[in-house]
Symmetry: C2
Subunit: 305 residues, 2 copies
Protein backbone atom coordinates (compact mmCIF):
# COMPACT_ATOMS: atom_id res chain seq x y z
CA UNK A 1 0.00 0.00 0.00
CA UNK A 2 1.16 3.55 -0.70
CA UNK A 3 3.13 5.42 1.90
CA UNK A 4 2.91 9.20 2.08
CA UNK A 5 5.88 11.17 3.36
CA UNK A 6 6.03 14.88 4.01
CA UNK A 7 9.28 16.57 4.95
CA UNK A 8 12.34 18.40 3.83
CA UNK A 9 14.22 18.01 0.59
CA UNK A 10 17.58 19.70 0.73
CA UNK A 11 20.92 20.41 -0.81
CA UNK A 12 23.62 19.53 1.70
CA UNK A 13 27.29 20.24 2.11
CA UNK A 14 28.81 17.75 4.48
CA UNK A 15 32.22 17.28 6.00
CA UNK A 16 33.06 14.09 7.87
CA UNK A 17 36.36 12.68 9.13
CA UNK A 18 36.50 10.62 5.92
CA UNK A 19 35.84 13.36 3.38
CA UNK A 20 33.52 16.06 2.18
CA UNK A 21 30.75 16.48 -0.30
CA UNK A 22 29.46 19.84 -1.48
CA UNK A 23 26.00 20.61 -2.84
CA UNK A 24 24.69 17.08 -2.75
CA UNK A 25 21.10 15.90 -2.47
CA UNK A 26 19.74 15.53 1.05
CA UNK A 27 16.69 16.12 3.19
CA UNK A 28 14.71 13.84 5.45
CA UNK A 29 11.96 13.18 2.90
CA UNK A 30 14.50 12.26 0.23
CA UNK A 31 16.30 9.66 2.33
CA UNK A 32 13.00 8.39 3.68
CA UNK A 33 11.42 8.02 0.24
CA UNK A 34 14.38 6.20 -1.27
CA UNK A 35 14.67 3.78 1.63
CA UNK A 36 10.92 3.15 1.71
CA UNK A 37 10.77 2.67 -2.04
CA UNK A 38 12.30 -0.79 -1.64
CA UNK A 39 9.12 -1.95 0.04
CA UNK A 40 6.16 0.17 -0.99
CA UNK A 41 5.15 2.85 -3.47
CA UNK A 42 5.94 6.24 -1.94
CA UNK A 43 4.11 9.53 -2.33
CA UNK A 44 6.15 12.58 -1.48
CA UNK A 45 5.13 16.06 -0.35
CA UNK A 46 7.87 18.67 -0.27
CA UNK A 47 9.04 21.99 -1.68
CA UNK A 48 12.12 22.49 -3.84
CA UNK A 49 13.65 25.56 -5.44
CA UNK A 50 14.83 26.30 -8.97
CA UNK A 51 18.22 24.91 -8.08
CA UNK A 52 17.21 21.36 -7.23
CA UNK A 53 18.77 18.95 -9.72
CA UNK A 54 16.46 17.29 -12.21
CA UNK A 55 18.61 14.15 -11.99
CA UNK A 56 17.63 13.57 -8.36
CA UNK A 57 13.97 13.84 -9.29
CA UNK A 58 14.34 11.25 -12.00
CA UNK A 59 16.27 9.00 -9.59
CA UNK A 60 13.35 9.19 -7.21
CA UNK A 61 10.80 8.59 -9.98
CA UNK A 62 12.77 5.60 -11.15
CA UNK A 63 12.36 4.08 -7.70
CA UNK A 64 8.61 4.48 -7.98
CA UNK A 65 8.36 7.62 -5.87
CA UNK A 66 5.35 9.71 -6.82
CA UNK A 67 6.50 13.33 -6.95
CA UNK A 68 3.18 14.95 -7.80
CA UNK A 69 3.20 16.48 -4.30
CA UNK A 70 6.65 18.02 -4.73
CA UNK A 71 6.26 21.67 -5.55
CA UNK A 72 9.01 23.53 -7.37
CA UNK A 73 8.96 27.18 -6.37
CA UNK A 74 11.00 30.21 -7.34
CA UNK A 75 13.97 30.53 -5.03
CA UNK A 76 16.54 28.17 -3.56
CA UNK A 77 16.09 24.72 -2.05
CA UNK A 78 16.71 24.31 1.68
CA UNK A 79 20.47 24.28 2.11
CA UNK A 80 22.25 22.75 5.07
CA UNK A 81 25.91 22.46 5.68
CA UNK A 82 27.40 20.58 8.58
CA UNK A 83 30.53 19.05 9.95
CA UNK A 84 30.71 15.76 11.83
CA UNK A 85 33.16 15.25 14.65
CA UNK A 86 35.50 12.28 15.04
CA UNK A 87 32.67 10.96 17.20
CA UNK A 88 30.19 10.98 14.34
CA UNK A 89 27.28 11.00 16.76
CA UNK A 90 28.11 14.71 17.13
CA UNK A 91 27.76 17.28 14.39
CA UNK A 92 27.80 21.04 14.04
CA UNK A 93 25.51 22.89 11.70
CA UNK A 94 27.70 25.37 9.85
CA UNK A 95 24.98 27.03 7.83
CA UNK A 96 21.27 26.70 7.24
CA UNK A 97 19.29 28.54 4.60
CA UNK A 98 15.63 27.55 4.54
CA UNK A 99 15.02 28.93 1.06
CA UNK A 100 11.60 27.95 -0.30
CA UNK A 101 11.14 25.66 2.71
CA UNK A 102 10.53 28.74 4.87
CA UNK A 103 7.10 29.25 3.33
CA UNK A 104 6.34 25.54 2.87
CA UNK A 105 2.67 24.74 3.35
CA UNK A 106 2.10 21.10 2.54
CA UNK A 107 -0.74 20.72 0.10
CA UNK A 108 -1.70 17.19 -0.80
CA UNK A 109 -2.67 16.36 -4.38
CA UNK A 110 -6.18 14.94 -4.48
CA UNK A 111 -4.78 11.56 -5.49
CA UNK A 112 -2.83 11.36 -2.21
CA UNK A 113 -5.86 11.72 0.04
CA UNK A 114 -6.60 8.04 0.29
CA UNK A 115 -3.17 7.43 1.86
CA UNK A 116 -3.44 5.14 4.84
CA UNK A 117 0.26 5.03 5.72
CA UNK A 118 1.78 8.37 6.50
CA UNK A 119 5.12 9.58 7.76
CA UNK A 120 5.50 13.11 9.03
CA UNK A 121 9.23 13.78 8.87
CA UNK A 122 10.71 16.46 11.06
CA UNK A 123 8.97 19.76 10.30
CA UNK A 124 6.89 22.23 12.32
CA UNK A 125 4.23 20.20 14.17
CA UNK A 126 1.58 22.60 12.90
CA UNK A 127 2.46 21.61 9.36
CA UNK A 128 2.47 17.96 10.36
CA UNK A 129 -1.01 18.49 11.78
CA UNK A 130 -2.09 20.25 8.59
CA UNK A 131 -1.12 17.15 6.63
CA UNK A 132 -3.23 14.90 8.81
CA UNK A 133 -6.17 17.24 8.36
CA UNK A 134 -6.02 16.66 4.62
CA UNK A 135 -6.27 12.89 5.07
CA UNK A 136 -9.75 11.53 5.67
CA UNK A 137 -8.56 8.12 6.89
CA UNK A 138 -4.93 8.00 7.90
CA UNK A 139 -4.44 4.52 9.29
CA UNK A 140 -0.88 4.34 10.52
CA UNK A 141 0.81 7.65 11.26
CA UNK A 142 4.52 7.79 11.91
CA UNK A 143 6.26 10.95 13.01
CA UNK A 144 9.69 12.41 13.68
CA UNK A 145 10.49 15.69 15.41
CA UNK A 146 13.46 17.55 16.87
CA UNK A 147 14.61 19.45 19.92
CA UNK A 148 13.56 22.79 18.48
CA UNK A 149 9.87 21.81 18.30
CA UNK A 150 9.94 20.04 21.64
CA UNK A 151 11.20 23.24 23.25
CA UNK A 152 9.39 25.88 21.20
CA UNK A 153 6.14 24.24 20.08
CA UNK A 154 5.41 21.77 22.80
CA UNK A 155 1.64 22.27 22.89
CA UNK A 156 1.35 21.81 19.13
CA UNK A 157 3.57 18.77 19.28
CA UNK A 158 1.62 17.16 22.12
CA UNK A 159 -1.63 17.76 20.26
CA UNK A 160 -0.14 16.10 17.21
CA UNK A 161 1.23 13.14 19.17
CA UNK A 162 -2.31 12.17 20.15
CA UNK A 163 -2.82 11.22 16.52
CA UNK A 164 0.55 9.57 16.01
CA UNK A 165 0.91 5.80 16.22
CA UNK A 166 4.65 5.47 15.77
CA UNK A 167 7.11 8.06 17.00
CA UNK A 168 10.67 7.91 15.66
CA UNK A 169 13.09 10.11 17.59
CA UNK A 170 16.66 10.03 18.81
CA UNK A 171 17.69 9.48 22.41
CA UNK A 172 18.37 13.13 23.13
CA UNK A 173 14.93 14.10 21.83
CA UNK A 174 13.34 11.32 23.86
CA UNK A 175 14.96 12.70 27.01
CA UNK A 176 13.89 16.22 26.25
CA UNK A 177 10.33 15.23 25.41
CA UNK A 178 9.92 13.03 28.49
CA UNK A 179 12.05 14.83 31.04
CA UNK A 180 13.55 11.43 31.84
CA UNK A 181 17.22 10.58 31.44
CA UNK A 182 16.73 6.80 31.52
CA UNK A 183 15.66 5.51 28.12
CA UNK A 184 13.08 3.05 29.50
CA UNK A 185 11.42 5.67 31.66
CA UNK A 186 11.57 8.15 28.78
CA UNK A 187 9.78 5.70 26.49
CA UNK A 188 7.16 4.81 29.11
CA UNK A 189 6.42 8.48 29.60
CA UNK A 190 6.14 9.16 25.86
CA UNK A 191 3.78 6.20 25.46
CA UNK A 192 1.32 8.13 27.64
CA UNK A 193 1.32 11.00 25.11
CA UNK A 194 -0.34 9.00 22.35
CA UNK A 195 2.06 6.88 20.30
CA UNK A 196 1.66 3.12 20.63
CA UNK A 197 5.21 2.48 19.46
CA UNK A 198 8.32 4.53 20.17
CA UNK A 199 11.47 3.98 18.18
CA UNK A 200 14.47 5.57 19.82
CA UNK A 201 17.46 6.00 17.52
CA UNK A 202 20.82 5.77 19.25
CA UNK A 203 23.19 6.58 16.41
CA UNK A 204 26.07 4.14 16.20
CA UNK A 205 24.42 2.04 18.92
CA UNK A 206 21.29 1.21 16.99
CA UNK A 207 17.61 1.42 17.78
CA UNK A 208 15.36 0.42 20.64
CA UNK A 209 11.63 -0.04 20.15
CA UNK A 210 9.14 0.28 22.97
CA UNK A 211 5.47 -0.54 23.00
CA UNK A 212 3.14 -1.21 25.92
CA UNK A 213 4.14 -4.83 26.28
CA UNK A 214 7.47 -5.25 24.62
CA UNK A 215 10.95 -3.92 24.10
CA UNK A 216 13.10 -4.78 21.09
CA UNK A 217 16.66 -3.64 20.59
CA UNK A 218 18.79 -3.83 17.45
CA UNK A 219 22.41 -2.71 17.38
CA UNK A 220 23.59 -0.61 14.50
CA UNK A 221 25.34 -2.65 11.86
CA UNK A 222 29.07 -2.58 12.60
CA UNK A 223 30.64 -0.94 9.57
CA UNK A 224 34.36 -0.39 9.10
CA UNK A 225 33.78 2.92 7.44
CA UNK A 226 30.96 5.31 8.04
CA UNK A 227 31.36 7.93 5.37
CA UNK A 228 28.45 10.18 6.15
CA UNK A 229 25.87 9.68 8.90
CA UNK A 230 23.53 12.22 7.31
CA UNK A 231 20.17 10.63 6.59
CA UNK A 232 20.79 7.44 8.58
CA UNK A 233 17.79 8.07 10.82
CA UNK A 234 15.55 9.07 7.93
CA UNK A 235 16.60 6.02 5.94
CA UNK A 236 15.88 3.90 8.99
CA UNK A 237 12.41 5.44 9.25
CA UNK A 238 11.85 4.92 5.53
CA UNK A 239 12.81 1.27 5.64
CA UNK A 240 10.72 0.74 8.75
CA UNK A 241 7.57 2.47 7.49
CA UNK A 242 7.98 1.02 4.01
CA UNK A 243 8.12 -2.46 5.43
CA UNK A 244 5.00 -1.80 7.50
CA UNK A 245 3.16 -0.26 4.55
CA UNK A 246 3.96 -3.25 2.37
CA UNK A 247 1.93 -5.60 4.52
CA UNK A 248 -0.14 -3.37 6.79
CA UNK A 249 0.77 -5.87 9.50
CA UNK A 250 1.34 -4.24 12.89
CA UNK A 251 1.92 -7.46 14.81
CA UNK A 252 4.91 -7.50 17.13
CA UNK A 253 6.67 -9.97 14.81
CA UNK A 254 6.25 -7.69 11.85
CA UNK A 255 7.20 -4.54 13.74
CA UNK A 256 10.44 -6.22 14.77
CA UNK A 257 11.21 -7.23 11.21
CA UNK A 258 10.42 -3.68 10.11
CA UNK A 259 12.95 -2.34 12.63
CA UNK A 260 15.59 -4.64 11.16
CA UNK A 261 14.77 -3.68 7.57
CA UNK A 262 14.89 -0.04 8.66
CA UNK A 263 18.25 -0.63 10.32
CA UNK A 264 19.53 -2.24 7.14
CA UNK A 265 18.53 0.80 5.09
CA UNK A 266 20.12 3.11 7.65
CA UNK A 267 23.33 1.09 7.46
CA UNK A 268 23.49 1.45 3.68
CA UNK A 269 22.79 5.17 3.80
CA UNK A 270 25.98 5.91 5.74
CA UNK A 271 28.29 3.93 3.47
CA UNK A 272 28.61 6.76 0.98
CA UNK A 273 27.89 10.46 0.87
CA UNK A 274 24.39 11.73 0.23
CA UNK A 275 21.87 9.30 -1.27
CA UNK A 276 24.48 7.61 -3.42
CA UNK A 277 24.50 4.23 -1.73
CA UNK A 278 20.70 4.07 -1.48
CA UNK A 279 20.57 4.53 -5.24
CA UNK A 280 23.01 1.68 -5.86
CA UNK A 281 21.75 -0.96 -3.51
CA UNK A 282 19.38 -3.66 -4.75
CA UNK A 283 16.92 -6.09 -3.15
CA UNK A 284 19.47 -8.90 -2.92
CA UNK A 285 21.85 -6.70 -0.96
CA UNK A 286 19.03 -5.63 1.36
CA UNK A 287 18.11 -9.26 1.99
CA UNK A 288 21.77 -10.14 2.61
CA UNK A 289 22.17 -7.28 5.08
CA UNK A 290 19.08 -8.46 6.98
CA UNK A 291 20.60 -11.95 7.18
CA UNK A 292 23.81 -10.35 8.45
CA UNK A 293 21.80 -8.56 11.14
CA UNK A 294 20.33 -11.90 12.15
CA UNK A 295 23.81 -13.39 12.48
CA UNK A 296 24.98 -10.32 14.36
CA UNK A 297 22.45 -10.70 17.17
CA UNK A 298 21.48 -14.37 17.27
CA UNK A 299 22.29 -16.71 20.08
CA UNK A 300 20.87 -20.05 21.03
CA UNK A 301 19.46 -20.42 24.48
CA UNK A 302 20.59 -23.39 26.49
CA UNK A 303 18.19 -26.25 26.61
CA UNK A 304 16.52 -26.25 29.98
CA UNK A 305 17.95 -28.94 32.21
CA UNK B 1 36.45 -26.13 36.05
CA UNK B 2 37.96 -23.60 38.42
CA UNK B 3 38.41 -20.04 37.31
CA UNK B 4 41.22 -17.95 38.75
CA UNK B 5 40.78 -14.19 39.05
CA UNK B 6 43.38 -11.67 40.13
CA UNK B 7 42.48 -8.06 40.68
CA UNK B 8 41.42 -5.35 43.04
CA UNK B 9 39.23 -5.70 46.08
CA UNK B 10 38.10 -2.33 47.34
CA UNK B 11 35.99 -0.27 49.66
CA UNK B 12 33.99 2.20 47.60
CA UNK B 13 32.02 5.33 48.25
CA UNK B 14 29.69 6.01 45.39
CA UNK B 15 27.30 8.75 44.49
CA UNK B 16 24.86 8.33 41.62
CA UNK B 17 21.85 10.38 40.54
CA UNK B 18 19.70 7.89 42.48
CA UNK B 19 21.55 7.93 45.78
CA UNK B 20 24.79 7.33 47.56
CA UNK B 21 26.54 4.55 49.42
CA UNK B 22 29.55 5.05 51.65
CA UNK B 23 32.22 2.49 52.51
CA UNK B 24 30.71 -0.41 50.64
CA UNK B 25 32.41 -3.44 49.19
CA UNK B 26 33.78 -3.07 45.69
CA UNK B 27 36.70 -3.92 43.47
CA UNK B 28 36.94 -5.62 40.10
CA UNK B 29 37.89 -9.01 41.50
CA UNK B 30 34.99 -8.94 43.95
CA UNK B 31 32.34 -8.26 41.30
CA UNK B 32 33.99 -10.69 38.93
CA UNK B 33 34.17 -13.50 41.49
CA UNK B 34 30.57 -13.14 42.61
CA UNK B 35 29.24 -13.06 39.05
CA UNK B 36 31.41 -15.98 37.97
CA UNK B 37 30.46 -18.01 41.04
CA UNK B 38 27.06 -18.74 39.47
CA UNK B 39 28.78 -20.87 36.88
CA UNK B 40 32.10 -22.18 38.15
CA UNK B 41 34.19 -22.43 41.31
CA UNK B 42 36.29 -19.28 41.59
CA UNK B 43 39.77 -18.83 43.00
CA UNK B 44 40.65 -15.30 43.99
CA UNK B 45 43.99 -13.54 44.30
CA UNK B 46 43.91 -10.10 45.91
CA UNK B 47 45.14 -8.00 48.81
CA UNK B 48 42.94 -6.52 51.52
CA UNK B 49 43.68 -4.40 54.57
CA UNK B 50 42.70 -4.69 58.22
CA UNK B 51 39.56 -2.73 57.49
CA UNK B 52 37.97 -5.11 54.99
CA UNK B 53 34.72 -6.47 56.42
CA UNK B 54 34.69 -10.12 57.43
CA UNK B 55 31.07 -10.31 56.30
CA UNK B 56 32.05 -9.76 52.67
CA UNK B 57 34.59 -12.55 52.88
CA UNK B 58 32.00 -14.95 54.21
CA UNK B 59 29.58 -13.83 51.50
CA UNK B 60 32.20 -14.73 48.92
CA UNK B 61 33.01 -18.05 50.60
CA UNK B 62 29.34 -18.89 50.71
CA UNK B 63 29.25 -18.55 46.92
CA UNK B 64 32.05 -21.04 46.62
CA UNK B 65 34.82 -18.51 46.10
CA UNK B 66 38.19 -19.84 47.28
CA UNK B 67 39.88 -17.02 49.19
CA UNK B 68 43.13 -18.76 50.00
CA UNK B 69 44.86 -16.36 47.60
CA UNK B 70 43.45 -13.26 49.31
CA UNK B 71 46.10 -11.81 51.56
CA UNK B 72 45.12 -9.61 54.51
CA UNK B 73 47.90 -7.14 55.17
CA UNK B 74 48.39 -4.41 57.78
CA UNK B 75 47.00 -1.16 56.43
CA UNK B 76 43.87 -0.09 54.62
CA UNK B 77 42.09 -1.69 51.72
CA UNK B 78 42.10 0.12 48.36
CA UNK B 79 39.54 2.91 48.71
CA UNK B 80 37.83 4.55 45.77
CA UNK B 81 35.20 7.20 45.82
CA UNK B 82 33.43 8.42 42.74
CA UNK B 83 30.46 10.32 41.47
CA UNK B 84 28.41 9.37 38.42
CA UNK B 85 26.91 12.02 36.17
CA UNK B 86 23.31 12.13 35.01
CA UNK B 87 24.76 10.35 32.00
CA UNK B 88 25.94 7.38 34.02
CA UNK B 89 28.44 6.44 31.34
CA UNK B 90 30.51 9.29 32.80
CA UNK B 91 32.01 9.33 36.27
CA UNK B 92 34.51 11.36 38.25
CA UNK B 93 36.95 9.80 40.65
CA UNK B 94 36.79 11.93 43.80
CA UNK B 95 39.45 10.09 45.78
CA UNK B 96 41.67 7.08 45.43
CA UNK B 97 43.82 5.60 48.18
CA UNK B 98 45.65 2.46 47.08
CA UNK B 99 46.36 1.30 50.64
CA UNK B 100 47.77 -2.22 50.72
CA UNK B 101 47.10 -2.53 46.99
CA UNK B 102 50.08 -0.25 46.31
CA UNK B 103 52.50 -3.01 47.23
CA UNK B 104 50.38 -5.85 45.86
CA UNK B 105 52.46 -8.66 44.37
CA UNK B 106 50.16 -11.49 43.39
CA UNK B 107 51.39 -14.76 44.82
CA UNK B 108 49.43 -17.82 43.89
CA UNK B 109 48.83 -20.54 46.47
CA UNK B 110 50.26 -23.83 45.26
CA UNK B 111 46.74 -25.24 44.96
CA UNK B 112 45.86 -22.56 42.36
CA UNK B 113 48.65 -23.48 39.96
CA UNK B 114 46.67 -25.98 38.00
CA UNK B 115 44.17 -23.27 37.02
CA UNK B 116 43.34 -23.46 33.33
CA UNK B 117 40.85 -20.58 33.23
CA UNK B 118 42.30 -17.26 34.30
CA UNK B 119 41.07 -13.71 34.36
CA UNK B 120 43.50 -10.87 34.85
CA UNK B 121 41.35 -7.97 36.00
CA UNK B 122 42.62 -4.44 35.52
CA UNK B 123 45.97 -4.10 37.32
CA UNK B 124 49.52 -3.27 36.21
CA UNK B 125 50.30 -5.47 33.19
CA UNK B 126 53.57 -6.50 34.83
CA UNK B 127 51.58 -7.99 37.70
CA UNK B 128 49.23 -9.62 35.21
CA UNK B 129 52.28 -11.14 33.52
CA UNK B 130 53.64 -12.27 36.89
CA UNK B 131 50.43 -14.21 37.46
CA UNK B 132 50.74 -16.00 34.15
CA UNK B 133 54.32 -16.92 34.99
CA UNK B 134 53.09 -18.76 38.06
CA UNK B 135 50.73 -20.89 35.97
CA UNK B 136 52.32 -23.82 34.16
CA UNK B 137 49.36 -24.43 31.87
CA UNK B 138 46.94 -21.54 31.62
CA UNK B 139 44.45 -22.59 28.97
CA UNK B 140 42.11 -19.68 28.50
CA UNK B 141 43.38 -16.30 29.61
CA UNK B 142 41.02 -13.34 29.83
CA UNK B 143 42.25 -9.84 30.55
CA UNK B 144 41.02 -6.33 31.26
CA UNK B 145 43.07 -3.15 31.32
CA UNK B 146 42.59 0.61 31.44
CA UNK B 147 43.72 3.85 29.81
CA UNK B 148 46.48 4.37 32.34
CA UNK B 149 48.32 1.17 31.36
CA UNK B 150 47.68 1.68 27.66
CA UNK B 151 49.34 5.08 27.89
CA UNK B 152 52.03 4.43 30.50
CA UNK B 153 52.93 0.74 30.11
CA UNK B 154 52.26 0.02 26.51
CA UNK B 155 55.24 -2.29 25.93
CA UNK B 156 54.36 -4.40 28.97
CA UNK B 157 50.76 -4.51 27.93
CA UNK B 158 51.56 -5.55 24.36
CA UNK B 159 53.84 -8.28 25.63
CA UNK B 160 51.06 -9.52 27.88
CA UNK B 161 48.44 -9.41 25.11
CA UNK B 162 50.41 -12.00 23.14
CA UNK B 163 49.40 -14.47 25.83
CA UNK B 164 45.81 -13.30 26.21
CA UNK B 165 42.99 -15.12 24.45
CA UNK B 166 40.08 -12.89 25.42
CA UNK B 167 40.41 -9.17 25.96
CA UNK B 168 37.58 -7.36 27.73
CA UNK B 169 37.82 -3.59 27.48
CA UNK B 170 35.55 -0.61 27.06
CA UNK B 171 35.14 1.37 23.87
CA UNK B 172 37.36 4.24 24.96
CA UNK B 173 40.15 1.82 25.86
CA UNK B 174 39.70 0.01 22.55
CA UNK B 175 40.15 3.31 20.71
CA UNK B 176 43.20 4.25 22.70
CA UNK B 177 44.81 0.83 22.31
CA UNK B 178 44.16 0.63 18.57
CA UNK B 179 44.42 4.25 17.51
CA UNK B 180 41.17 3.70 15.62
CA UNK B 181 37.98 5.59 16.31
CA UNK B 182 35.70 3.13 14.49
CA UNK B 183 34.87 0.16 16.70
CA UNK B 184 35.21 -2.43 13.93
CA UNK B 185 38.60 -1.15 12.84
CA UNK B 186 39.66 -0.89 16.49
CA UNK B 187 38.76 -4.52 17.10
CA UNK B 188 40.45 -5.73 13.90
CA UNK B 189 43.62 -3.93 14.92
CA UNK B 190 43.57 -5.36 18.45
CA UNK B 191 43.07 -8.87 17.07
CA UNK B 192 46.54 -8.53 15.52
CA UNK B 193 48.05 -8.00 19.00
CA UNK B 194 47.26 -11.49 20.24
CA UNK B 195 43.73 -11.93 21.56
CA UNK B 196 41.45 -14.22 19.57
CA UNK B 197 38.33 -12.61 20.99
CA UNK B 198 37.75 -8.97 21.85
CA UNK B 199 34.80 -7.95 23.97
CA UNK B 200 34.14 -4.25 23.80
CA UNK B 201 31.93 -2.94 26.59
CA UNK B 202 29.79 0.03 25.61
CA UNK B 203 28.16 0.90 28.92
CA UNK B 204 24.43 1.42 28.61
CA UNK B 205 24.62 0.26 24.99
CA UNK B 206 25.85 -3.23 25.70
CA UNK B 207 28.70 -5.32 24.39
CA UNK B 208 30.10 -6.21 21.01
CA UNK B 209 32.28 -9.27 20.52
CA UNK B 210 34.77 -9.59 17.69
CA UNK B 211 36.74 -12.60 16.60
CA UNK B 212 38.45 -13.33 13.30
CA UNK B 213 35.30 -14.57 11.60
CA UNK B 214 32.37 -13.20 13.52
CA UNK B 215 30.80 -10.25 15.21
CA UNK B 216 28.14 -10.55 17.90
CA UNK B 217 26.36 -7.64 19.53
CA UNK B 218 24.15 -7.64 22.61
CA UNK B 219 22.42 -4.51 23.85
CA UNK B 220 22.50 -3.75 27.53
CA UNK B 221 19.35 -4.85 29.30
CA UNK B 222 16.98 -1.89 29.41
CA UNK B 223 16.44 -1.18 33.08
CA UNK B 224 14.15 1.50 34.45
CA UNK B 225 16.53 2.28 37.25
CA UNK B 226 20.27 1.95 37.22
CA UNK B 227 21.30 2.56 40.80
CA UNK B 228 25.02 2.14 40.53
CA UNK B 229 26.99 1.27 37.39
CA UNK B 230 30.08 0.38 39.45
CA UNK B 231 31.16 -3.16 38.74
CA UNK B 232 28.91 -3.68 35.72
CA UNK B 233 31.84 -4.42 33.44
CA UNK B 234 33.53 -6.68 35.99
CA UNK B 235 30.29 -8.56 36.61
CA UNK B 236 29.91 -8.93 32.87
CA UNK B 237 33.44 -10.36 32.63
CA UNK B 238 32.75 -12.67 35.57
CA UNK B 239 29.55 -14.04 34.08
CA UNK B 240 31.23 -14.43 30.71
CA UNK B 241 34.37 -16.18 31.95
CA UNK B 242 32.41 -18.24 34.48
CA UNK B 243 30.16 -19.52 31.74
CA UNK B 244 33.19 -20.42 29.59
CA UNK B 245 34.96 -22.11 32.51
CA UNK B 246 31.90 -24.20 33.27
CA UNK B 247 32.09 -26.02 29.96
CA UNK B 248 35.51 -25.20 28.53
CA UNK B 249 33.67 -24.80 25.25
CA UNK B 250 35.05 -21.99 23.09
CA UNK B 251 32.79 -22.59 20.10
CA UNK B 252 31.14 -19.53 18.63
CA UNK B 253 27.74 -20.73 19.93
CA UNK B 254 29.06 -21.01 23.45
CA UNK B 255 30.97 -17.72 23.33
CA UNK B 256 27.74 -15.98 22.33
CA UNK B 257 25.83 -17.58 25.17
CA UNK B 258 28.64 -16.57 27.52
CA UNK B 259 28.30 -12.96 26.37
CA UNK B 260 24.59 -13.07 27.17
CA UNK B 261 25.13 -14.65 30.59
CA UNK B 262 27.78 -12.02 31.25
CA UNK B 263 25.38 -9.29 30.17
CA UNK B 264 22.75 -10.71 32.51
CA UNK B 265 25.16 -10.56 35.46
CA UNK B 266 26.15 -7.01 34.51
CA UNK B 267 22.49 -6.02 34.42
CA UNK B 268 21.91 -7.35 37.93
CA UNK B 269 25.01 -5.65 39.32
CA UNK B 270 23.68 -2.18 38.54
CA UNK B 271 20.25 -2.69 40.11
CA UNK B 272 21.53 -1.93 43.61
CA UNK B 273 24.58 -0.37 45.18
CA UNK B 274 27.77 -2.36 45.62
CA UNK B 275 27.53 -6.16 45.38
CA UNK B 276 24.11 -6.23 47.04
CA UNK B 277 22.09 -7.42 44.07
CA UNK B 278 24.65 -10.04 43.05
CA UNK B 279 24.32 -11.52 46.54
CA UNK B 280 20.54 -11.69 46.30
CA UNK B 281 20.02 -13.07 42.86
CA UNK B 282 19.56 -16.80 42.31
CA UNK B 283 19.88 -19.19 39.37
CA UNK B 284 16.19 -18.93 38.46
CA UNK B 285 16.49 -15.16 38.14
CA UNK B 286 19.60 -15.49 36.03
CA UNK B 287 17.86 -17.94 33.71
CA UNK B 288 14.84 -15.63 33.48
CA UNK B 289 17.04 -12.65 32.64
CA UNK B 290 18.71 -14.63 29.86
CA UNK B 291 15.26 -15.48 28.45
CA UNK B 292 14.41 -11.78 28.65
CA UNK B 293 17.56 -11.00 26.68
CA UNK B 294 16.45 -13.48 24.06
CA UNK B 295 13.07 -11.77 23.81
CA UNK B 296 14.76 -8.38 23.68
CA UNK B 297 16.79 -9.13 20.57
CA UNK B 298 14.93 -11.85 18.69
CA UNK B 299 13.29 -11.42 15.36
CA UNK B 300 12.13 -13.90 12.80
CA UNK B 301 13.51 -13.56 9.33
CA UNK B 302 11.07 -13.60 6.49
CA UNK B 303 10.73 -16.81 4.62
CA UNK B 304 12.52 -16.42 1.33
CA UNK B 305 10.06 -15.98 -1.49
Amino acid sequence: MSLLVVGSVAIDSVETPLGRAADVVGGAATYFALAASFFAPVRMVAAIGDDFPEQALSDLRERGVDLSGVERRPGTTLRWSGRYHEDMNVRDTLALDLGVFAAFQPLLPAAYRDSRFVFLANIDPRLQQAVLEQLPAPGIVGCDTMNHWILESRADLERLLQRVGILVINDEEARLLSGERNVVRAARRILTLGPKTILIKRGEYGVIQFSANSVFAVPAFPLEEVFDPTGAGDSFAGGFMGYIARSGDLSEHNLRRAVVYGSAMGSFAVEKFSIQRLLEVGPAEVAARVRDFHRLVSFEQELEA
